[in-house]
């Protein structure tokens, strides 16, 4: 079971055939625990997957004995580990690592930007589960003795969720509506007045950036002692209004599609989890992960299947890159194998937002090259 990126490996601690109750710990790792999101019998438990067949009457076992608020950063990090919290904005970085760095944090940044088109789950949480989000914010602020809170919203949402900021004594930072305005790096750059260099985490600059969904999960723990077993997400289909759902983690997509009567034809539709810009293609069997903030069922655009053409040097990718990198310059150098310090610097900086690929009129999969090259550089 791989709940995300580094330090996120967990190993199952239950046996096949065991009965588990909702909320029971089923896998344990260095930075987080995983909990059963339904009550039932374990059908499969290996390094890849734990399958629980829903069966027993739902009975909630809280794995968390804690009753009081976390008192300090170490406390909070421990709780994050026990409740199995990862970055729920999509990054799936274990929150205990972020919280346990020991850096002096002066600002809590509540990221409600959701710049990926179509996703509105953070907005929905703020509007419909306001108290849970607020208690999550209060909990983190108290534990880390944070001086300043900032709610970051996109311009279109500034009016209706901006008012939430007043109720929790937060400043509002409005970001443009353009993708990728919600990237941590760009938000910190706005707050800080300068762009943090590659490799420097926002926490290292004193900014703790958490998505609304993560804070909501902390709020669930704070209010109900519930570990991270539910995933709020947007279900976006072309023909119907977007729905915002609360889904047990691990649910197969097919289950959700059937429940809502959404037709999915692999020939004509694209099933995507996470977001149309940075998400991944999925199959009906794909489970909901802790970072799955949206499901998209979209008709396949003609342009997506058009073959790659030679670069026109139209300059669109240069214009759109939020970091002013030189996307096609990098790709040319990667293709021809001309490794240079300048290329490494630019590659390091790129955070794979994919904005350049999306505008390329020649359909060059620029971001794909960067993803591969970054892997190559690391390996």
């Amino acid at each position: 079971m791989d709940a995300g990126i580094n330090r996120c490996r967990v190993a199952p601690i239950v046996q096949t055939g065991a009965a588990v109750a909702e909320g029971e710990i089923v896998a344990q790792g260095e930075s987080l625990a995983m909990h059963a999101s339904v009550s039932g019998v374990v059908e499969r438990a290996d390094a890849e997957q734990i399958v629980i067949r829903r069966g027993l009457a739902p009975s909630t076992v809280s794995a968390l004995k804690e009753t009081s608020c976390p008192q300090n950063a170490a406390d909070l990090a421990r709780i994050a580990r026990e409740m199995g919290l990862v970055g729920m904005g999509g990054g799936m970085f274990p929150a205990s690592v972020k919280l346990g760095t020991g850096w002096q944090i002066h600002t809590l940044v509540v990221n409600a930007v959701e710049c990926e088109p179509g996703i509105q789950i953070d907005e929905a949480l703020i509007l419909h589960d306001t108290d849970t989000v607020r208690s999550g914010i209060d909990c983190v602020t108290a534990a880390l003795a944070i001086k300043r809170r900032v709610l970051v919203v996109k311009r279109t949402a500034a009016n209706h969720i901006g008012s939430f900021a007043a109720s929790c004594a937060a400043d509002v930072l409005t970001m443009p509506n353009r993708y990728p305005a919600g990237a941590e790096k760009l938000i910190v750059a706005r707050l800080d007045g300068r762009m943090p260099p590659a490799g420097l985490l926002p926490v290292q600059c004193g900014y703790l950036v958490l998505s609304v969904a993560s804070l909501w999960a902390i709020g669930r723990w704070q209010l109900y002692r519930e570990p991270s077993i539910l995933r709020p997400l947007s279900l976006v289909t072309p023909s119907r209004p977007t729905r915002n759902l609360l889904v047990p983690i691990g649910t197969a997509l097919s289950h959700i599609l059937n429940t809502y009567g959404i037709g999915y034809n692999p020939e004509a539709h694209l099933l995507v989890t996470g977001g149309l810009m940075m998400g991944a293609r999925a199959t009906p069997k794909t489970p909901i992960l802790k970072g799955t903030n949206a499901i998209f069922v979209q008709p396949i655009l003609r342009r997506l299947i058009r073959p790659e053409e030679p670069c026109l040097l139209c300059g669109a990718c240069f214009d759109v890159c939020p970091l002013n990198l030189h996307p096609i310059g990098m790709v040319e150098r990667i293709k021809s194998g001309r490794r240079s310090p300048a290329l490494a610097t630019q590659l390091d900086e790129c955070f794979l937002c994919g904005a350049c690929s999306a505008v390329c009129p020649a359909e060059i999969p620029l971001v794909q090259y960067f993803r591969d090259a970054k892997r190559g550089l690391r390996a």
């Binding site: 850096w103 002096q104 002066h106 600002t107 300043r148 707050l191 800080d192 007045g193 300068r194 943090p196 260099p197 590659a198 490799g199 420097l200 290292q204 600059c205 004193g206 020939e267 694209l270 995507v272 149309l276 810009m277 998400g279 991944a280 293609r281 998209f296 396949i300 655009l301 342009r303 997506l304 299947i305 670069c311 026109l312 040097l313 139209c314 300059g315 669109a316 240069f318 214009d319 759109v320 002013n324 990198l325 030189h326 096609i328 310059g329 310090p341 300048a342 290329l343 610097t345 630019q346 994919g354 690929s357 999306a358 505008v359 009129p361 020649a362 359909e363 999969p365 971001v367 794909q368």
Partner: protein
């Protein structure tokens, strides 16, 4: 189908939309010219485009042995060429120019390391080979772009015909000279700078053209005009200035891709063009200025790439000297 990778969204025009947009604007210019000056021109324009398509089709047929639709960019190249040479030069000269632009420029030079504007290559060829016909067509001694503009500017310089920049902006070239000289001044694409400018604006708003090289070309041109003490109004209005800014220095493939590259190339092309007009050892300013800048393109892009990386590294260094990263607040 399984090769579809993120992002799953597309923004802005794709290559075909871009070429279609350009072609539409050029066709508007053609129709305008037809309505006001030469009713046969649109038909000839269409024939040239058909011919360009045939050249492209035959090339692919001979080389790969298959039939393929002509590339949209070929049509744009052909349209640009036809519109930027005087309407009344002999047809076979235009055909020769088309052949050079499409076969040599687009098929031989373009995929290689050189990035030059194929349409300008065609014009360069016409300029060198058919110099005679250009000579007789142009009023002798004029200091302006010969092929592109036997314009009021030329007439004014050589024959003392009066002009009004405002009238030229409006494409009102029916002047006193018309009765005296049996020529139609200006190339079809260049006679109505106002229309060209409008088309450029529309193309920019559709995301088809980048503003940088065009605006910088005009800036470089204007500054050089002022510096060299040339009459700015007439030089901006007449000749190929606006046409070049909108359609030629914005040609994606042959200009640098980076923002810095475009700004620099634009200024350079503008300044060179104005300079050549002033100290014209050769009357064709646009072709030489832009071709020269085309050759510099890859270098400018390389400088920009290195420069960006240098700035990023310097920033990272400055930050790491901030000791334990106390950005903003303590």
């Amino acid at each position: 189908m399984n090769t579809i990778v993120s992002p799953f969204l597309r923004r802005g025009p794709n290559a075909r939309d871009m070429m279609t947009g350009m072609l539409a604007c050029l066709t508007v210019a053609t129709v305008h010219f037809g309505l006001r000056y030469d009713a046969q021109f649109p038909a000839r324009y269409a024939l040239y485009l058909v011919l360009a398509s045939l050249i492209d089709i035959f090339y692919v047929l001979l080389k790969d042995g298959r039939l393929a639709l002509p590339r949209a960019s070929t049509l744009v190249t052909a349209a640009l060429l036809v519109l930027s040479v005087p309407a009344r030069i002999p047809w076979w000269q235009i055909v020769a120019g088309l052949l050079v632009a499409i076969l040599f420029g687009k098929r031989v030079v373009d995929p290689g390391a050189l990035r030059v504007n194929p349409m300008l290559l065609g014009r360069l060829f016409m300029m060198l080979v058919f110099a005679d016909s250009i000579q007789t067509w142009l009023a002798p001694g004029a200091e302006i772009d010969a092929l592109s503009s036997a314009t009021p500017l030329g007439l004014q310089a050589s024959e003392g015909v009066a002009y009004s920049p405002l009238k030229i902006w409006m494409g009102d070239i029916h002047g006193d000279w018309e009765g005296i000289y049996a020529i139609l001044p200006g190339a079809p694409g260049e006679v109505l700078p106002l229309l060209t400018l409008l088309c450029g604006l529309v193309l920019y708003m559709l995301g088809i053209l980048d503003w940088r090289s065009g605006v910088m070309y005009i800036a470089g041109f204007a500054l050089t005009c002022v510096a060299l003490d040339m009459p700015l109004g007439i030089h901006l209005a007449a000749g190929a200035t606006i046409f070049t800014a909108v359609y030629i220095v914005t040609d994606p493939r042959s200009m640098p891709g980076s923002k810095f590259g475009r700004l620099a190339a634009g200024v350079l092309a503008g300044a060179l063009n104005a300079g050549i007009r002033k100290h014209g050892f050769y009357p064709e300013g646009v072709v030489l200025a832009v071709l020269f800048v085309n050759l510099l393109g890859p270098t400018l892009d390389r400088i920009a790439f290195q420069g960006r990386a240098y700035l990023l590294r310097r920033r990272a260094k400055a930050r790491s000297q901030d000791s334990v990263c106390v950005c903003g607040m303590p």
